[in-house]
């Protein structure tokens, strides 16, 4: 299977990438690691006229400490996110989850920004971006703007990115002291997409949860924050209280039914995985 013909532009700067996108028009696509895009092109599900390769744009390749947050360039690979010391120290949930994305070879090429911009509802990293209240730094012909995760993910494979915009970096607020985290991914086989996934970060004091963030993978068109669970977890100090909170995980969701699981099964999984994730994170 060979993709349809396209032109190739290797961008060396963010401005250059934006200019190439503007010139390329509606049919231009940004190429990062290509681990989602190239299979799509090979299957001829899409046939862009030009690919703009941002995988080696210097500004998009670094992880930097920016005070209350870290800034992860969109072309930083999943493998690098797993192993980067700043990410491990300040956003451990992200490095932990990066380790369960696909398989080693795909993690070597695939990028954090690419996963976020691709916005597959079964993707693990968009869920973490939602759980950690990340902000997307976006460049376009009119300059730069920042979009919060809750506004960034719009629908299946659809984000707030316009056709002439590039995701430059993801700003990840640092989790301070007292936070612990876990990600639970349920799939049928190695390297498969999540049937359901749950990201949990909890802040505890003396064995009591004081604050929690819970986000769900593949429970709808976009990553979903389980706000009912988050509210119910405040003050939880027993496994019974965690289980009671987790039972709200599927509230208000309408997950899809497909070959792997029907919607009701996904709703059940969301509750089970939320309980496991919060228990593993909190040690309660």
């Amino acid at each position: 299977m060979i993709p349809a013909s396209f032109d190739y532009v290797k961008a060396t700067s963010v401005d250059g990438a934006v200019a190439a996108l503007v010139k390329g028009g509606e049919d231009a696509k940004v190429l990062g690691g290509g681990q989602s895009l190239l299979p799509v092109l090979r299957l001829r599900l899409n046939a862009p006229s030009v690919l703009i390769d941002v995988s080696e744009v210097g500004e998009m390749r670094s992880v930097t400490d920016d005070g209350d947050s870290i800034l992860i360039g969109a072309s930083v690979t999943t493998y690098e996110v797993m192993h980067n010391e700043l990410v491990k120290e300040h956003a451990g949930l992200l490095s932990l989850t990066a380790g369960v994305v696909a398989d080693p070879a795909i993690r070597h090429k695939g990028t954090f920004g690419g996963s976020v911009a691709h916005a597959d509802p079964a993707g693990d990293l968009p869920t973490v971006a939602a759980a950690l209240d990340c902000e997307m730094v976006i460049a376009g012909p009119n300059g730069r703007r920042t979009v919060a995760a809750k506004d960034f993910f719009v629908d299946y494979f659809t984000t707030a990115l316009a056709a002439d915009e590039v995701l430059v970096a993801v700003r990840v607020p640092k989790l301070g002291a007292g936070w612990s985290y876990n990600y639970q991914k349920f799939n049928r086989t190695a390297q498969a997409w999540a049937i359901v996934g749950v990201a949990a970060a909890v802040k505890s004091e003396n064995g009591t949860i004081t604050e929690a963030r819970v986000a769900l993978t593949n429970m709808g068109a976009t990553p979903i924050r389980a706000t009912g669970v988050e509210a119910a977890l405040a003050g939880a100090s027993s496994s019974e209280a965690i289980a009671a909170a987790a039972s709200k995980a599927a509230d208000g969701t309408s997950p899809t039914s497909d070959l792997h699981a029907d919607g009701e099964y996904r709703k059940h999984l969301a509750q089970v995985l939320t309980r496991r994730a919060v228990q593993a994170a909190s040690g309660i």
Partner: protein, 157 residues
Amino acid sequence: MTHISATVDGVHRQGDVEPRTLLVHWLRESLGQVGTTVGCDTSNCGACTVLVEGRSVKSCSVLAVQIDGKSVTTIQGLAEGEEWHPVQKAFKECHGLQCGYCTPGMVMASVDLLNENPNPTEAEIREGLEGNLCRCTGYHNIVKAVAMAAAEMGASK
């Protein structure tokens, strides 16, 4: 057409490619390096795994233009002259294959795994090879082969 040059199995290679050319097709069809196989063609099976700058990638999911200026190692670049790589020897010794179709990718993924973790547990071996499918063996002898290669490579240091 785009001009690219790369070091493939230690040899400087160059040529003009269409941007849509996949790395595996450049290797096989332009360079004649047919040791790397095309399996699923959908980035699932890992048969086409090669190393780019020392790290495993699925060469059906990388464009040839993306490896311009880089080094690529295929299964054909592992041996030192007549001397097989320890992972190749261990796959033969443990019979870590049946039909052999997945073997080039399986060996390359194993080399990457051992570069990253020279002394893996059985679970780490299985996890490290999760991106490579074998439909014959049931994986047991593959896992044994990687463990044997790890022991061999550790002993030779």
